[in-house]
Symmetry: D2
C-alpha cells in the first residue's frame, strides 16, 4: 500500500474548496499531501503550509517553482490539486502537465473558452492525467442513475430538468467575503457568474447521468443585484442531440435555497428524481408503475462508491472523495501501465462546461437566440 | 338563506370535471343544481339528469333549449356551470350570457384566441358575471401567498419558477379513454395540448400569486408520443413586465408525476415554495432568515377560505369550492347590487390564458422566438 | 335518487364538528338536512336553524321534542347526527334509537364506560343503525392498508406504532375557547382528556387497519399543564391478541404538531407507514424490497372511496364524507332490506374505544400496571 | 501540528465499524494509525495490517502484546480505538487503561453491567481518557439542539420521543453474516439485542440532547424472529427525573427502516424534531409560533462541528469524525495539561447505557415492571 504524493496550489487560509479537496483526498487514505503553493501571498503560503504540517522546503511561494522542483525530486509529487480561483486554473495546470504531473483541478476548467481550448491542447501533449472535480458526479445514486439509464431502464430520454439554486448572493455580500469577491469578479471567475459557478455543475451532472450530448441552447441571463458584473440567475432551454429537451435553471438569488441541485429525467419507460440536499434517496418510477424510493446502499442493491450502510447518510465530502478515489485508481493504473476504467470528469467535460458557459453568455446577449454547441 | 339555482352544461356520465363542479358547488351549500343539458347525446343527457335527481322538465337535450327556457322560468337558473370540452365553452357561454345568466366556466376559456376575444366581447355586453374555474387559485395558501406578495413580504419579484407535470399521457392511452381522447384532439382541445390543459393553470397561478403581467415568452413545445397532434411537453421562458424572469414547464409525459403543480417565487426580500400535491404547507424564507413552514390555518394565522383546523388537510375539492364560494358571493352581491370583493378568476384571466397558449404555439413554430403578449 | 332526511343535535354557532358533519353529509348529495336541535340554548338553536335554512317548525329547542315529533312525521328524519360534547351522546342517542331513527354519532361514544355499555344495550334493542364517526378510517389509503393486511401482504403483524400528536393545548387556552373548555372538563369530556379526544382515534385506526384485537395495555398518563383536570399526554404500551406489540402516544402538548396522526405497521412480510397530515401517500416496503410510495388512486390501482384522480389531494372532509357515504349505503340497504357490506365504525368500536380510555385511566392510576381489556 | 499516534484493536477484514473509525480518525488529519491487533486470527491480523500499511512490527497478533509493547515504545501509541464485538471491550480497554493509553471505545461499553462497573473502576484508577463513540451525538444539529435546550429555548421539558428502527434482522440472516452473527449471540453482544445495539444509542442521544437523567423505565421486549436469543424489538416507557416522560422504541424488524433514529423533544416553550437519515435539517417550533427548518450551518448561524456550507450535506462519517475531533482536543489538552471543554461521550455515559440495557431486560422479565435506574 503506497499513498500517492499530492501537492496543492491554492487552498490556503480563508479558502473554502482547498479544505474540501484535502478531506476528500484523505477519506480513503490513498493520497498524502506533501507539497503546496497554498497562496499567492508568500507569507500566507508559508503559514498555511505550517498549519498543514508540510515540510518547509516543500512549502512554495509560487507554483512555477513548485512544479519545477517537485518534478526533479525523486519522491516529488505525482499529482497536484489546483484549487485557485478560476482564472488561475489554466496557467497553473500547464506548468504541471508539461512536467508529467497529474492534475486534479477544480471546476470550471478555465475562465474563458480560449483558455480552455489551449489547455486541452496542452493536456493532449502531456502524458499526465487530468481529473476535473465535478464532484456531484461522485454521488453514488447519480452513478446508479447513470447506469440505469445506460442499461435502458428509462428508455429513450425525452425530458431533462436540472437546477442548481442558491441564495447566498441574493444581496451584494460584504466586501470582505473572499469567496463572493472573486466569484463575482469577471476577471477571476470568467465570463459566467452563476452559470460558471453552479450552472456548469448542473449541466455536467445532467450529461453525466443521461449520457446525452447537448445540441444547442437558448439562455436568458440576469444580474439581479445592482452593480453585479456577472450573471446571478440563468434560465436556459436545452436541446439535446437525438431529440430530448430540457431546462436548466441556475440561480444565486433564490432565497431559501442553500445548495439545491436537483435532477429529473423522464424517458419513454420511466422517470427519476434526485436532489443533492438529501442525496441518499432517489425516486424512480417505471412507466405505469408505483414510485420507488431507491436508497444509497439500500434494498435495490449495493451502490458503487459508498462507505457505510444504507440509512447512514453520506454527503458532499464522500461524493467528493469518490472523485479522488477514481483519480487514485487512474493514477495507480497509469503508473503500472494497466488499463483503468475509473470514472471521473475529464478535461473534455471541462471544455464542454466552459463552452456551455460561453454559449449561455452569447445566447443571452443575442436575446436568447439558439446557439449550437 | 337562499341557494343559488344552478344549471350545468356537460358533466354527464363518463365526464370527470362535471362531478368536481357539483361537489364544489355543494360544499358550502350555496348552490342548488336544478337544471342540466348534461350530454350532447339526448339519451345520455336524460339518464344523467335522472341520476342527479333533476326534474325531467329541466333535463334538456340541448343547451340552447335550456338557455331559452330557463331564462323564461320564474325560478329559472341564475347561473350555469359549463363543463364541456374546450371547443364548446364559447358557444355555450354566449347563449347564457346573452340571457343574463351568470356563467361559471371551466378552463381554458376557449379553444382558440379568436373565440376568446369574441367571448370577451359578448361578456362585456352582458350584465351577467363570468367566473372561470382556475381552481388552483382557490388553495388557501396560494391566496395567502398572493396577499404576502401584495403586502411586500417578498419585495420586488425577481424569479418565478412554475411547473405542472403529469404522466398520464406518457403513452398513447387506450382509444376508449374519453378524457384523453378529446384532450389530444386539436378540434376539441384547441391549439394547445399540455399548454392548454395544464400550462394555463400554471401560468394563471403564477400571475395570480405574484400580481405580475407577462411581457413576452419563448416556448419550445414537443409532442413526444408518436402520432400525437398536440403538444405534450412545453418549455417556456418568461419575461414579466418590470423585469422579473421565469420559467414554466408543463408536461404530460413526466413519468412519476401525478399532478405536480409547483410554484416558487423569489424576490428581493424573500422566497416562497409550494406544491399542489401537499398543499397545506408552504415554505417561506425571509432574506437572510430561517425557512418557515407556513401551514393552512396554522400558527401564522387563519387562512382565508378554509373549513377545518390546521393539520387536517384540505385538498383539491375544497380549493375548487373556494372558487364556487367566491362565485356565490359575487352572484349574491350582483342580485342585491352590492359591491363585491369576491376573488375569482375572470374572463380576462381566461383571455390571458388563451393568449398564452396561442403565443406558446406561435413561438414554438418560430424556433422559440420571443413573442410579446 | 332520494336523499336521506337527516337531523342534527348540536352543531350550532361556535361549534366545530357540526359543520364538518354537514359538509361530509353533503359531499355526495345523499343526505338532506331537514331538522335540528342545534344548541341547548333555545335562542341560539333557532338562530342556527335559520342560518342553515331549516324550516322553523323543524328547528327544535330540545332533542327530546325533536325525536318525538320527527318520529311521527310522515317525512320525518331517517337519521340523526349527534355532534354534542361527549357527555350528551348517550342520552341523545337513546331518544332516537328507541324510535327507530338511525344514529350517526361523533366519538368517543360516551363519557364513561358505564354509559357506553348501556347505550350498546339500547342499540341492540333498536332496529336502527348506529354509525360512529371515527373519520380517519375513511381515508382511502387506510382502507387500502386494511385490505392489504387482510390479504396477507404484510404477513403476521409484529409491531404497531400509532400516534396522535397535537399542540393546541400546550398552554391553558383562553377561557372563551369553547372547544377547549368542554374538552378539558371531565364532566363533559369524560374520564379521558387526550386519550378520549384523540387517543381513541389512534386506537381505533390501528385496530381498523390491522384487524388486531387488543389484549392488554399499560398506560402512563400526564396532565402537564398546571390545573388541567384531564390527561393531556398519554404513553401506552399495547399487547395485542396473537402476540403483536405496539405503542400508542397521544398528546395535546407536543408543540409543532397540528394533527399528527401517524400509523406504522410492521409484519413478517412487510411494513407500511402513513400520516394524516399528508394522507394521499403511504409508504409500503415488502420484506427485502424497495420502499414504494403508494398514492391514493395512483398507479397501484383505484382506491376505494376517492373522488378525484391521484395527485389531486383529498383530505379530512373527503375522508369524513366516506363515513357518511357508507352510512348512506347502510341506511338505503336497511330500508330495502338488502344486505349491506358498507364499512363504517360501529357502536362496538365505540364501546372498545371507551373501554380503552377507561383502561388507560385505571392503568395509569395503578402505576401503569397491565390492564386486560 | 503533530498527529496523535493511534492503535486499533479489532477492525480487520470483514469488520464494519473499524473502517468507520479509521475514516473518522482521518477526516480532520489529527490522528495517525500506526499499530493494530486487528483480528483474533493471527493470519488475518497480519493481512489486515499490511492492507492498512502498518509496519510489520506494529502489527500484533494479540492486544495484550500490543498494549505492553506500545506502552514501552518511545513513539508508541497515545490512544487506542477498540472496535471489537461488545464482550471484548472491557478486557481490551483495561490493558490499555492501566498503561496510560487513552481509549476510544465503540458502544455499548460492555456486554454486562458487572463488567461495566469494573471497567469504570479501572478507568478511575487510570490517568488515561475514555471516549465512547456514541457517534450520533456528533451530529451538528444534535449539538445545536442540546445547546438550545440548555439555554432554555424549549423551556422545561415535558415529553421525549426517541426511536431507532432498522429492518436488517427482520429475518434470521444468513449464517455467514458476521455482523448479524455476533450481534445476535448473547455471549458476544451481551444481554441486549436491539436494546444494546441501537437502543443505547437512542437513550444516549435523548439524554445528551435534553440533559435529563432517567429515573425509571418499564420495558416490554420481544424476540420476534424464531430462534433469536436476544431481543429484536423493545418498547420502553421512560420517566425522567423532574417529571418529563418519554417513550423509546428500538427495533431491528421494522421493515422499511434502514437506520431510522429520530428524536422529538417537547417542552413548555417549544418543540424540536430530528431524524438521522436526513440529518442536516431539524424542525423547531416555538410555542404558538411557526415551525422553522433549522439547517446545519444555515441561516440560524454556524453550527459547531461542521466542515462544509449549509446545503452541502454532511452525514454519518462527519458526525463520527466529530467524536474523534473532540477526542483529539481532549488528548492534546491532556498532554499539555490544559483544561479541555471537549464534548464527547464518557465512560459514565457508557455505564448509563449498559444500566439502561440491563434495566430493560429486568423490567421485561418482570412483565414490564418499573425499574429505577
Amino acid at each position: 500500500m503506497t499513498r500517492i504524493k499530492l501537492g496543492m496550489v491554492g487552498g490556503g487560509k480563508d479558502a473554502f474548496i482547498g479544505a474540501v479537496h484535502r478531506i476528500a483526498a484523505r477519506m480513503d487514505d490513498r493520497f498524502e499531501l506533501v507539497a503546496g503553493a497554498l497562496s499567492s501571498t508568500p507569507e500566507k503560503a508559508r503559514e498555511s503550509g505550517r498549519a498543514l504540517g508540510l515540510a518547509p522546503d516543500r512549502t512554495y511561494d509560487d507554483y512555477v517553482a513548485m512544479a519545477k522542483r517537485e518534478a526533479r525530486l525523486k519522491d516529488g509529487i505525482a499529482a497536484v490539486a489546483i484549487v485557485t480561483p478560476n482564472h488561475m486554473h489554466a496557467p497553473v495546470a500547464r506548468e504541471f502537465l508539461k512536467r508529467g504531473i497529474h492534475v486534479i483541478c477544480d471546476k470550471p476548467l478555465t475562465a474563458t473558452l480560449a483558455e480552455a481550448r489551449k489547455l486541452v491542447a496542452a493536456a493532449e501533449k502531456s502524458d499526465a492525467l487530468f481529473i476535473l472535480t465535478h464532484n456531484y458526479t461522485g454521488y453514488p445514486l447519480m452513478r446508479h442513475a447513470r447506469q440505469m439509464i445506460a442499461e435502458g431502464a428509462l428508455g429513450r430520454i425525452r425530458v431533462v430538468q436540472v437546477e442548481y439554486a442558491q441564495d447566498w448572493l441574493a444581496e451584494a455580500p460584504e466586501p470582505d467575503n473572499k469567496q463572493a469577491a472573486w466569484r463575482t469578479d469577471p476577471a477571476k471567475s470568467g465570463v459566467g457568474g452563476s452559470t460558471g459557478d453552479i450552472g456548469t455543475h448542473a449541466y455536467n451532472l445532467a450529461c453525466f447521468v443521461t449520457g446525452l450530448k447537448l445540441d444547442s441552447l437558448a439562455a436568458d441571463l440576469d444580474a439581479f443585484v445592482p452593480g453585479r458584473q456577472v450573471d446571478d440567475n440563468g434560465h436556459v432551454m436545452l436541446r439535446f442531440q437525438g431529440g430530448a429537451k430540457g431546462m436548466l435553471w441556475c440561480s444565486q438569488v433564490a432565497t431559501g435555497s442553500e445548495n439545491r441541485l436537483t435532477l429529473r429525467v423522464y424517458g419513454e419507460k420511466g422517470g427519476i428524481e434526485w436532489g443533492q440536499e438529501n442525496p441518499n434517496v432517489m425516486r424512480y418510477t417505471p412507466l405505469g408503475g408505483v414510485t420507488q424510493l431507491l436508497t444509497r446502499n439500500g434494498a435495490s442493491g449495493t451502490t458503487t462508491g459508498t462507505r457505510v450502510p444504507g440509512g447512514h447518510p453520506e454527503g458532499y465530502l464522500e461524493a467528493f472523495a469518490n472523485i479522488y478515489a477514481a483519480a487514485a485508481d487512474a493514477i495507480d493504473a497509469a503508473r503500472t501501465g494497466e488499463k483503468s476504467s475509473a470514472l471521473y470528469p475529464t478535461i473534455q467535460d471541462g471544455l464542454d462546461g466552459v463552452a456551455f458557459v460561453d454559449a449561455c453568455a452569447r445566447s443571452s446577449r443575442r436575446n436568447a437566440a439558439w446557439i449550437t454547441l
